[in-house]
Every structure is written in structure tokens, then in C-alpha cells.
Amino acid sequence: MIQIQKASFAYLNGLVLRNINLSVAIGEMVGLLGPNGSGKTTLIKLASGIIRPNHGDIRLGNTGLSQISRKSIAHSIAVVPQQFHIPFAFTTTEVVMLGRFPFIKTLSGESSADRQITAETMALVGLSQLAERRFDELSGGERQKVILAMALAQQPKLLLLDEPTLNLDISHQIEILELARRLNTTQKLTVIAAMHDLNMAALYFDRLILLKEGQIVADGTPSQVLTEDRIREVFAATVKVEMHPTTDVPHIIVTPKGNTVR
């Protein structure tokens, strides 16, 4: 699906990503982990093509990402960034319909097919009840679902999520990750998501990539990546890693200091 070859990227204030090699195949579900500032968001932006690597190359299928127009990229890649502020009182339907933007011709406006896809996507994400509600009056979790629906209305092959569960309550977190997982299995949607919550990442992603100071330090299954030593090294946190009681993935246990003996 997407290959990142020897890519480096620096903002004006310093290097953010160094020599990143990453190949994600069609149908993979990949979680990006790492401390704040380790380069997760920058990697998502590189993969989306809105920023270009200073060195190295990114290929979407067989074509260099920089050779493809924004509109064609939007036909294959959809992105859910961390936060969206929409200054005008659009309804849920109007926001989700924006996902059809890359397909709508300026002169003819949206087709009945576009309207149908919008309605189906809202039903899929569980937003039908909120169709005519104003986006700016929704809760944080509902807004995140609207933005996800907008991205899915693009009918992408690759979905990039930048901390999709940030600031959400547990039920919305589960809902969004379950949906991503379901689309990944049923439609072979390739998903790459930056994640903070290591346990959620272990539960919902098949492959995890651990970033530290702009470099990939681990790439593999959750059990391969999430070890006690590596978490201490990368996050400077001492935790215990056990097996999740019902699924075969690691589970991170945090014990507050001073409570070790009871």
C-alpha cells in the first residue's frame, strides 16, 4: 500500500524524523507508538503527503507520492487529524458530505450517489440520529465520530488516524477502534494510527511501530514490541507486562510508587 524509504524530515526548529523505513501492505492495521514529540504526527503527515520528506522517498502503490495531485491522493488516502475546529454552524450531514469533496465536480454539485454514500457512512458510524444536528453543538466523542465518518465517506484504501481516541471516554474509544478493526477485516481497509494508550494499541492492532526521537526502534507484533525493557528505555517508565486474560496480547500494568507492598 505505502512504502516509506529512508525518509527524513525536519521542521525549522530541528530534526523530527530520521531515516524512516516503513512498508505497510494492503489490509494491515498498524499502530504508531512513542512518547510525545517522538514524531508520530509528523510520520502521519508524511504518509498523507501534506508535508514532503527532506530526504528519502514515499511511494503509494507504485507511484511516488509527490507525483500525485492532492485530489488523486484524496481518492486513496483519508486522514483524521487530532482536532478539528469548524467555525461555522454546519450540520453533521454537511460535514460528512465534505468527505465526498474529491469526487464532486464544481459545476454539477453532489450526485444522488454522493448523498447515498454520505447517509450509509453515517449509519455505519452510528450517526444517523445526529444527521441534522449542528456539528459545533456535539460532544467531543460525537465530533470525532463525525470526522471519522467524513474520512470514511472518501471511501479510502488507506486510513490515517492521529490519536483517534484522544480525550474520549472509554465507550467512544472502544466504538471507534472496533469500527476501524471491522472495516480492516471486512473491507481490507489499511489503517495506520498514532496511539497513546499502549493497552488499546495492543488490543486492536496487529502490528506496532515504536518511535523514539524520530527513529523506529521496534516494529513487530504487540508481544514483540511491548516488553518491559523497551518501555523503560523508550518511555522512561517502569511497568509490568503480563498477558491479557482473554486475548493473546501483552497487557501493561502500572503500579503507583509506594503501593508496591500492601
Partner: protein, 352 residues
């Protein structure tokens, strides 16, 4: 979900209401003034003009001259100024992602006015392009100031109200000072310029059809072009990053939209000077009743802006008749309190 036929029915209703309102207000504004001519007479004159009928003249010849050669160009000029400023307001609000943007408030009008003043003061003015040079230099001035404000006022992809207002205010103050200075020089040199007062306060200075031959195509063409960017502006409400994810070539479209807003502002300013708040009040009113979709907002705001300025200019001509006051005074008396109300209401939202 609204179906297509429902939408097009709604569109038809809105167009009829606003279009009818505009025609009505144009007739009304043409009828009223220092010399009153009755509405039926104006109807008959108009029908005679387009050679459909041949009503016997129940009016004086001088009335016909007043109506068609003096008042109608002025009223049409006002409508064009209102439509242009309202559309420019929508474009700037959409791109700055700030519903309080207005060509007057963010300094675009002052930039255009400076450009226009330079054209008026240059001796080659009349020889070269006639009136046509004024919109051109006004456009350059408007674009310069809008790019200045756009780049100075943005903080992390957003345009906070406070920085937009401060930047707009200071840019305006600077340009207005230069205009006043240049006009003072013009007076000293004995150039017969417009009065600084009426130019800076906003006054529809259309005295013949020739000016409108330049202005009307620019305004109407500009509004049609703006309508092509309507769906893009919806996408821009997600911010530049979000718009790029949806397939927009952000840098290219941004400069096109800013240029279009500058062109409309410049064209309006070249015949009216600084008329404020039209681009703020009208789009807001339309958004409240029709929602924020730019595909509807642009044409509806243009029509509403035209009506608004025809009526306010009528007031400007008649309140102190036979004297006149600049129409910008009326729009400011209505628009400024409205702006303050919106500012207060948006305080929480924009956190300043």
C-alpha cells in the same frame, strides 16, 4: 436528509424572494429623492425605454432625465457595491475561518482606497485608461493589504479575532493616513479630487453609465467566479490542513480566493470609497436563516448586500434632503453595534 428537489425548491424560493426584493428596492430608490416621481410613472417610462409599450408621457422630460441619467446609475452602482462587498465578506470569512472578517474591518478596503487615490492623483489617469485605471490600482492595493493581514494575523492556522482586528485596524490606519496626506497634497496642487471626507466615509459617487460599464462586469463576473469556489470554501472551514486532506491545492486556491475578494472590494471601493460592515452584516443574516453552505451563502449574500446598500443609500440621500450624507455613515450606524454584539457573543468561542 434533504432531497434534491426539496433543495432546488428552496433555492427557487430564496432566489425569487431576494431577486424580487432587489428589483423592488431599486424601483423604490429610483422613485424617491429630491424630485419625487410616482412609481407607476417609472414603470411606464421603463416599459417605453425597452420599446415594449408607448405610453403617453404624463411626466416632464426632465423627470425622465433625472430618473435614467442620474438616479438609476447611482442606484445600480449602490447595488453593485453592496453585492461586491457582501461577497468579498463571505470569501474572507471563509478563508480566514472567522465570521467577523469584513473587507473594511480587515483593511482591504483601505488598501483599495489607497490604490484608487494613487490612480486619481497620477496625471496619466485620464489619458491612459480613463476610469479603468482606478479599479486596477485599487486591486493592487487591496491584494497587498489582504496578504499583509492574512500573514500577520494568523496564529497556528487560525485567525484569532483579536489579532485580526488589531492587524486590520493598524493597516487601515496607516493606509487612511497616507490617503488623507495624498489628498491634501492634491488639494494644494489644485487637482480636483473627490472630497476626502466623502471618500473616507463612503459615498456612492456614480454620476453616469460609463463608470458602471467598467464596474458591472467586474462585480458580476467576480460573484460568478466566487460561486465556483463555494464548495472549496466549505472544505476550507476545516482549516488548511483539513482542506488539503480533502484534495484541495491549498496554496493555489488560497491566492485565487484572496485575489477574488480583493478584486470585488477594489471594484466597490473605486466608486464608493470606504463603506464598512456590509460584508459583515449581510452574510451573517443569511447564515442565520439559510445555514453556512457557501453554495447558497454566496449568491444569497450578494443579493442581500445589494438590497441593503440600495436601501441605506436611499436613506443617505433622503434623511437630510436636499443635502446628502455619506452612505458609509448609515452602514456604520447599523453595522458597528451589530459587530459589537457578535464580538461579545463570540468571546467564549475565540477565547481572547
Amino acid at each position: 436528509m434533504p432531497t434534491k428537489s426539496k433543495n432546488s425548491k428552496r433555492l427557487l424560493g430564496i432566489s425569487l424572494t431576494l431577486g424580487g426584493g432587489l428589483i423592488l428596492s431599486v424601483f423604490l430608490a429610483t422613485a424617491l429623492g429630491a424630485v419625487n416621481v410616482s412609481l407607476p410613472d417609472i414603470f411606464r417610462m421603463s416599459l417605453n425605454k425597452i420599446a415594449l409599450f408607448d405610453f403617453p408621457a404624463t411626466w416632464r422630460t426632465v423627470d425622465e432625465t433625472i430618473i435614467f441619467q442620474i438616479r438609476l446609475p447611482r442606484v445600480v452602482g449602490g447595488a453593485l457595491v453592496g453585492a461586491a462587498l457582501a461577497t468579498a465578506g463571505v470569501l474572507f470569512q471563509g478563508l480566514l475561518r472567522n465570521p467577523l472578517a469584513d473587507p473594511y474591518i480587515i483593511g482591504t478596503s483601505a488598501g483599495a482606497a489607497l490604490g484608487a487615490t494613487i490612480a486619481m492623483i497620477l496625471p496619466l489617469n485620464l489619458a491612459l485608461l480613463g476610469f479603468g485605471l482606478i479599479p486596477l490600482t485599487a486591486f493592487i492595493g487591496a491584494l497587498t493589504s489582504v496578504i499583509l493581514v492574512y500573514n500577520l494575523a494568523r496564529v497556528g492556522g487560525r485567525t484569532p479575532v483579536i489579532s485580526m482586528l488589531l492587524t486590520g485596524f493598524v493597516v487601515s490606519a496607516l493606509f487612511v493616513a497616507i490617503i488623507a496626506f495624498m489628498m491634501s497634497i492634491g488639494d494644494r496642487l489644485g487637482l480636483n479630487l473627490r472630497s476626502v471626507f466623502s471618500f473616507l466615509m463612503g459615498h456612492i459617487s456614480v454620476t453616469n453609465w460609463n463608470q458602471l460599464a467598467v464596474v458591472a462586469p467586474l462585480v458580476i463576473g467576480g460573484i460568478i467566479a466566487a460561486r465556483f469556489f463555494a464548495f472549496h470554501l466549505n472544505a476550507f472551514s476545516l482549516g488548511e490542513e483539513g482542506a488539503a486532506y480533502l484534495g484541495i491545492e491549498v496554496e493555489r486556491d488560497k491566492i485565487l480566493i484572496l485575489s477574488l475578494g480583493s478584486l470585488l472590494t477594489a471594484t466597490a471601493v473605486s466608486i464608493s470609497g470606504l463603506v464598512g460592515f456590509v460584508g459583515l452584516v449581510m452574510p451573517h443574516a443569511v447564515r442565520l436563516s439559510l445555514g453556512p453552505d457557501h453554495r447558497l451563502l454566496i449568491p444569497a449574500s450578494a443579493l442581500a448586500g445589494a438590497i441593503f446598500l440600495v436601501i441605506t443609500d436611499l436613506l443617505a440621500r433622503t434623511i437630510l434632503a436636499p443635502g446628502e450624507i455619506p452612505v458609509g455613515i448609515i452602514t456604520a450606524l447599523i453595522g458597528a453595534p451589530f459587530f459589537l454584539y457578535l464580538l461579545r457573543r463570540s468571546r467564549r468561542e475565540y477565547a481572547f
